[in-house]
Amino acid sequence: MKCFDVLIIGAGIVGSAVARECALLGWRVGVIEGGTPAGAATAAGMGHVVVMDDSAAQLALTAFSRSLWRAESTKFPKSVEYEGRGTIWVAADEEEMAEVGTRQKVYEEAGIAASLLTAAELAKQEPNLRHGLAGGLLVPDDGVVYPPAAAAFYLAEAKRLGAEVFYARALSASHKQVRLSDGTELTADRIVLAVGTECDLLPALPIQKRKGHLIITDRYPNFLHHQLVELGYLKSAHKVTDDSVAFNIQPRQTGQLLLGSSRQYGNEQPEAEAEMLRRMIDRAKQYMPALEKLSVLRVWTGFRAATADKLPLIGPAAGLSEDSSLWLAAGFEGLGITNAPGAARLLVDGMLGRESAIDATSYLPIRLTEPARLAHA
C-alpha cells in the first residue's frame, strides 16, 4: 500500500492549491481525481478574484487570498489569463450611491483600495453602460483569471515538487485509508476532502448545491474594461430562499464577455433554463442595453457548494466526523476561485499548528455544529 503524508481528494482549484501548498513543505503528496481535473465547479465558474464584504470573516479571507493572487500574478503562465481588471460596483440610484459610500469606508478600514465614481466618471470608464446610473465604487486591485488554467498551474507545480496524481474515484476515505474505484488502496496521515459539492465520502458535510447560469459571447474587444457587478449582487448572493439574478459581467482576455449570474437552491438539474436566462438577460439589459445585439456562443450552468453561513469549511473535520485524519477544504459557494490560495495556506497552517496571517477560527467546520467547543479551541 502506498503511503503519503497527505492525500487530497478532488483536483478542482481548491484541491490543486492545497496540493501545491503541501508539496512546497516537502511532503509526500497524493492527489485523487475521479473526473476531469478542474472539470467541475472550477470549469463552470467566472474567475473573478474579488474582495467581498458580506461578513467580516468573508472580507478577511477574500482580502488575504486576493493578496496571494496578486503577489503571484507575474509568475503565472499566460494561459492563466490573470488581469488586474478591477471591479466596479454599479449603483443604479441615489439610495445605492449612499450604500457605496458606506462600503468604501468598510474597505478603507480593511486597507482595501476603493474609490467613488460619480455618474460622469462611471460613464467614462464604461461607455456601454446606460445613461442615468448614479455612479459606482471602483476596487482597482480585483482581478480576473481563467480558473481551469490556474488550477492546472497549481497541480503542475505540485507534480513538479513530487506530488502523484491518481485518476480514479475515491470510494471511501477514513482513518488514514483511501480506497479508489480502480482497486488501489492508499494510506496517509491526513486526508483532505476538497470535493466541491460532492458529499458521498462524508454525508455529514453541510453543503447544498446552488445552481448558477452563465452566458459567453463572441469576441468584442474593448466593449468592457472592468468586471461590473450591480450593487444589489451581495443581496442576491446573501439570499438563501428564492431564485435570484444579478447583473455581473466580466471582460475576458479573448475579448469575450462572460455574463452572470443566477442563484437557485433545490434545482440539481444541469440543464440551462430558459426562464432563468431570460431573467438574467433582462436584468443585464437594464444596465447595458447594447448587450442585446451581441452574439452568444454558449450558455452553461454550474453548482456552487453553499454552507448555511456562506463561509467555507477549512480545517479538521472535527464536529462532523470523529475521524481525526480527515480535513476539509470545501463549501466555497461563489468565491472558491478567489479563496483557493488563501484556503490552502490556512489549511496547511492548521496542519502544522502554525499561526495564520488571519484568524482562521471563523472557517473551522466545527463552528457549524458545536460553536461552544470552538470557543475553547
Binding site: A43, A152, E271, E275, E292, K293, S295, V296, R298, V299
Partner: protein, 435 residues
Amino acid sequence: MRAEVLVIGAGPAGIAAATAAAENGCKVIVLDDNVTAGGQIWRGATVDSANTQDVAKQRAMERLQRSGAQVLNGRSVFSADASGTVQTLQETASGNVVEQFHFEKLVLATGARERFLPFPGWTLPGVFGAGGLQALVKGGYSVAGKKIVVAGTGPLLLAVATHLAEDGAVISSVLEQATLAQLAPFAASLWTHPAKLVQGARFRVKLWKTPYRAGCWVIEAIAGSGQTLASVRVTDGTRTWTEPCDLLACGYHLVPNTEIAAFLGCAFRESFVQVDSAQRTSLPNVFCAGEPAGIAGLEAALVQGEIAGLACAGRSHASLQRRSAAERAFGDRMEKAFALRAELRSLPRPDTIVCRCEDVPFARLQGHQGWTDAKLQTRCGMGPCQGRICGPAIEQLLGWRPVSIRQPLFPVPLQAFCFPDASENNTTELIKEKA
C-alpha cells in the same frame, strides 16, 4: 406555433416524413435553415423550377406540396427541450426573428456534414471541403477552367467531381484513401441497388479522362506565391508525388448532425441516434430519420423518413421494413468500405492548426486526460463552431468522443433568449410568419 408533428430538416428524410404524416391527417410543420427545401442533394428544388431534371426530386416535392405539410424555410433551430419546445432564428431584412414551436411528435431529419481532417496546409486559401465547394458552386461560385484535385474518402467525392466537371472545372484526379480491396465488396453491392448504379454511370461519363486512384491521400497542401494553394503532396503509402492544382476539394465522408438529439437527451449508438424499426428514439415522441440515424444515403433517408411519418400518424409501416433493412445493410457496407486508414492520424505536424476557431495547434492537444481536459486547457472547440468541425477530427486523431453539447447550437444574438414565457399556451412568435 403548435404542430402535431414537427419535422426538423427538409432534406429527403424530412420531406418523406412530413409527406407521410400529412397524407395521413396530421398537422405538420417542417423547419429548415435553407432558403428552399431539398437538403444536401435536392437543394434548390422548387416544383416550378424549369431545370429540374431529377424525376424523383420533382415527384417528392410535388407530393409534399399536395400533402398539406407546411414548410417554413430560413429557420435555424438553435435550441430544443424535451418538454416539447423548439426555438428557431430567422434572419430577415428587418432583423432577427425568433420563433417558438411546440410539438406533440418530433422528427429529427437534420442530415450530416462533412468530416475534415487536419493536415499541413489544410487552412490555406484554395483548400475547400468537397461538399463545401460543391455547395459554393451551386450558389454561383465559378470553377470554370480551374484545375482541381478532389480527395478524401466516401461516395461524395465522385458526386462532387462530376458536378465540378459539369461546371467547367478540370478535375486532375480523384484520390480515395480507401484501398481497392476495401472498396470491392461495396462496389459489388451496387449491382443490387440499380438506382445507385445509374448515378455511378453518370460519374463515369463525365470523368472518363480523370484518374480515380484508390489507396491514395493528400499529405500536404503547398502554397505558391501569395500564400494560396499551388500544389498538393500525395502518397499511396510507398511513393510520394506532387500534383499542381488551383483548388483542392477534400472531405473525409460524413458526420451526422446529432446535436438536437443530444439536447433532448436521446440515447446514442456510438455516433448515431439510436432508433427502433419505427425510427423511434429512446424518447417515445421523438423520431429520427436519415443521416443522424446512420450514414446510408438517399434511399435510406427516403424510406426511413416515410416510416417515421407513418409512425407519427399511427399507421403501419410493415411493408417498408424490408427496404429499410436493405438500405441499412448498404449503409453498413459503405461504412466498412470507407473506414479511415490509420496513416491519416499522423498527418498533422505539431504546428498544424486543429481548431480553427481558437487557433489550437496539434502539439497543444497532446498529454491531456481526454476531450474535456483538452478543451478546458487549450480552448479547443470553444469557438463559434463549438467543436462541430474540430470535434470529429479530434475523435479520429486522438480517439476522444466529443462531449457536452450545449445551447445555442450556433451563435445567436443575446436577445434570442429573451423570449416570452415558454409556458404560455398561445402563439408566441415575435412577428407573423411571412407568406
